[in-house]
Every structure is written in C-alpha cells, then in structure tokens.
C-alpha cells in the first residue's frame, strides 16, 4: 500500500493553511496543491472552500481539477468536503442563479428561508444531531458543538445520505456521506478540539 498522502485542493479561493495546520497538529502532514497530477497521487483528498459557489466551480473546471476529483471519488478513496466544499459535491446550487456542481451527490443547495429573528448568515456554534455511525463522527456524540458560517445548505435527494443534522429554523444537513466519502457544512478546522479530532479520524481512514 502506498504511503498516506493527504492533499488539500487549492483552487485559488481563500486560505487553506488553517486546515493544513489543523491536520499537522493532529499528526498528519498534508500538502496543498492546484495540480491535477498531484491530486491523482493523493490517498486522501480534502476539498475546502470559501466564497461564491459559481466562482469556485468555474475555477475547478477551468483548471482540470474536476476530472481529478471525479477520478478520486470514483475509486472510493477517502474524500472530505468542507463548507463550500460540501455544497460543490451536489448537482445544483441556487446561489446567485442556478449553477451545476460536481454532482457526486444527488440534491441541491438552497438559501435559508428568513424567519422572524433568524439571522442569516447562520454564524456561530451549533449542535450536531448524529444519525449515522461513520468513522468521522466516532466519539462525537449528538450535542457536540461545531462552528458554522454559511447562508446556503445542501438538501440531499435521499435523506439517508445525512450523517448528522443541525437545526437552524428547521433541520439541515451538517454532515453527509458514508465511511469513506463525506463532507461537513461546518468548519472542523475552526471547531477547536471537536473539529481537530474529526480531521484526525478522517486522516486515519484506510485507503
């Protein structure tokens, strides 16, 4: 078996160093790369993201990264999307129009519906309601708080895709996926110990 090789996908939007440093802190060095070739050699891929959906998907497509991501995904190798990196995995997003995503998961990304006294963006610490036993969430019981900052969220076609829910004016998907390919709407790298432990467990998934 090849040596563990964690790659953070850099498509030119925002800082990936905090994710990299968080992994390093838990004992797992990771590299940051925008090169599809390097991505194809990865054992674990992390797709982070900040900014607008449309800009992100454009950059991923233009740079040829989408093919490398698709390939990694098709081989069922460990994959973690974070925040916008979760949303990009779905078929469509309604952020600023209607734009196609990577389509690895069936479903779409929608805006929170404003309700009285409900602030948008959903910003701050909120609890997880864990419904699926996946390695990422081992030792993370329901009620654990993690850090969210987003105005859009994913609605999977099959609710069984959701591994943990969060509540903000109604339930929404906080973690989706299975034992090997998963994504979080919150930021594990900003969620102090709870988040660092998740990144560590992701890095430990066999490849």
């Amino acid at each position: 078996m090849a040596e563990r090789n964690i790659v953070l996908v850099d498509y030119g939007m925002g800082n990936l160093r905090s994710v990299q440093k968080a992994l390093e802190k838990t004992g797992f060095p990771a590299s940051i790369s925008a090169d599809p070739q390097q991505l194809s050699e990865a054992t674990h891929v992390i797709l982070p993201g900040v900014g607008a959906f449309r800009d992100a998907i454009e950059k991923i497509t233009q740079t040829g990264l989408h093919e490398a991501l698709k390939d990694h995904w098709a081989k069922d190798k460990p994959f973690l999307g974070i925040c916008l990196g979760l949303q990009l995995l779905f078929e469509w997003s309604h952020e600023g129009g209607k734009f196609p995503g990577l389509g690895f998961f069936k479903g779409e990304v929608v805006h929170f519906t404003p309700q009285a006294e409900m602030k948008i963006p959903h910003m701050g610490w909120n609890d997880l309601q864990v419904t699926k036993n996946i390695p990422l969430l081992d030792g993370c019981p329901s009620g654990s708080s993690v850090y969210f900052v987003h105005s859009y969220f994913a609605v999977p076609e099959d609710p069984a895709l959701v591994a943990a829910w969060c509540d903000y004016g109604g339930p929404f998907a906080a973690v989706v996926g299975d034992n090997r390919r998963m994504a979080t709407q919150f930021h594990p790298e900003k969620s102090q110990r709870t988040g660092l432990e998740m990144l560590q467990r992701f890095a430990q998934i066999p490849w």
């Binding site: 440093k21 900040v50 602030k119 910003m123 105005s151 930021h187 900003k190 969620s191 988040g195 660092l196």
Partner: protein, 255 residues
C-alpha cells in the same frame, strides 16, 4: 440550537495587545498570540483582533500575527483596523483571517463593502460601526463616528447598519462610544434598535463590566454575540465563569 457567542477583543498596537478607555490611555496587556491561545483554552467562541497601529510597520506586524494565529489557534477570528482597500483585505484573508472588518473606510468608500463581499462572500465581510449619542434639533441621535471615535460623520447608526447590510456585510460589530471603557454595561437600547432592523448578526461591543451586562445585551439587547475586552484581559471575570453564568440564566451557550 445556535449559541450566543462570547468574543474577547484584542486591540493590537504595533504588535502588542493594549487596552485604553474611550480609545485613549493605552495600557500594555501582552502578546497577541499568547493571549489568543489562552482564550482558546478558556473556551472563547471567537476572537476579534483590532489593529490600532497607525504605522505601515504596525500593519506589517499585524499580517505576521494573523498568520501565526491562524497556524496555532483553531477557532474563528476576525481582523479589523486600517483596512482601506480590497488589497488590504485580501492580504489579511490570505494570511488566515476568517473575516475582515472595516469601519472608517466603509464610511469614506461604501463601495469597499460591496467589493469585499463580492470577492470573499458575505460570511467574511464585517462592518464595525461606532455610534455616539449626540443631541441635535431632533433630539438625541446615534451618530456614527470614525477614526477611533474622533470624527462625526452625520450618519445615523440604524440607517447606516441597514445600508452596509444591503451592500453585502454579513455581520455588524456595534461599539457604543459612550459606553466603551466605562464598564457600566452595553448600550442596550441602541443595540436592540439595530438588531431589530438588520437581518445579519449583530455583535455588541463597549461597556461590558460584569457577566450581567452580557446577559442583558444577549437577551434584551437582541445581540447574537457579546464582545468584551478588559473584563477578560485582566481576569476580572473568566470566560468560563461568564459562560456558566449565562447558561444558568437560560442563554444558549457552548460550554
């Protein structure tokens, strides 16, 4: 349930954390990275760094601090102070700031709010508003001040908050110039007036002297988060003590 956030604020001058009263008489309170780490251990929900250096050198030091903090502290943080262009904001975000906040430059060049928001998203765009109670012929108004509270702008706080929201701000930090440094409590009336009018979270700032003040601003004042500096810097009330107090009173808090 979304938790109310408790946010220590670190005013940074030429690379050191300082604290003054009404933006004057600065006292040294320590090394920013060390203090940030201590707050992380104590369970702060988020941090705000405000660069109050006036020099180019101070700004350069701030970039280094931001980069160190983002590599060592695994919690969200905002950086503000001295950001007057999209390039300034970009440098700080690239150094690892989660969110950037602008204040005087938003008043001087409101389009900067749109630019930052379009580039980095609403979630990364914060506007600081510093109102002061001023008497005019209509009675008392909350007039927005800039340049550390020295320059009146003629803008009314609630209207200005609504404008920056429409321009793409995803959060507003509202600092009462009257209450700041007094430890007599936040300006509850003003905070509530702004929080009721905007759809984005409002962080209340200025005047925290004890945990009761935080309780008041997070409930009656309708703030999403409470910022405090001196009560945490000098360990008058620990973050945990404050959070336990709030939780016991029924405020949703992360313990």
């Amino acid at each position: 349930m979304l938790k109310a956030r408790i946010i220590p604020c670190l005013d940074v001058h030429e690379g050191r954390v300082v604290k003054g009263v009404n933006f004057l008489n600065l006292k040294d309170a320590g090394d920013p990275v060390k203090i940030a780490r201590r707050y992380e251990e104590q369970g702060a929900d988020e941090l705000i760094f405000l660069d109050i250096s006036a020099s180019q050198q101070g700004r350069a030091i701030m970039i280094e601090i931001v980069s160190k903090v983002s590599e060592q502290i695994f919690m969200p943080f905002t950086v503000g102070g001295g950001i007057s262009s999209l390039e300034d904001a970009t440098r700080l975000i690239q150094a690892g700031a989660e969110k950037v906040s602008i204040n005087s430059s938003a008043v001087k060049n409101p389009d900067l709010v749109n630019q930052i928001s379009e580039r980095f998203g609403k979630c990364a765009t914060v506007v600081n508003i510093d109102p002061k109670r001023v008497k005019n012929r209509h009675g008392v108004v909350w007039e927005v001040h800039i340049n550390g509270g020295r320059v009146p702008t003629g803008k009314e706080a609630v209207a200005w908050a609504c404008e920056v929201e429409s321009r793409g701000a995803g959060e507003i930090v509202l600092t009462s110039m009257d209450a700041d440094g007094t430890k007599n409590g936040y300006d509850v009336e003003m905070t509530r007036a702004v929080a009721e009018r905007v759809g984005v979270p409002v962080v209340a700032s200025g005047g925290a002297g004890c945990p009761e003040h935080l309780y008041e601003i997070l409930t009656v004042g309708k703030a999403s988060a409470a910022l405090a500096a001196s009560i945490f810097h000098y360990d008058e009330f620990g973050i945990q003590t404050t959070k336990k107090y709030l939780a016991a009173k029924g405020v949703p808090i992360r313990l």
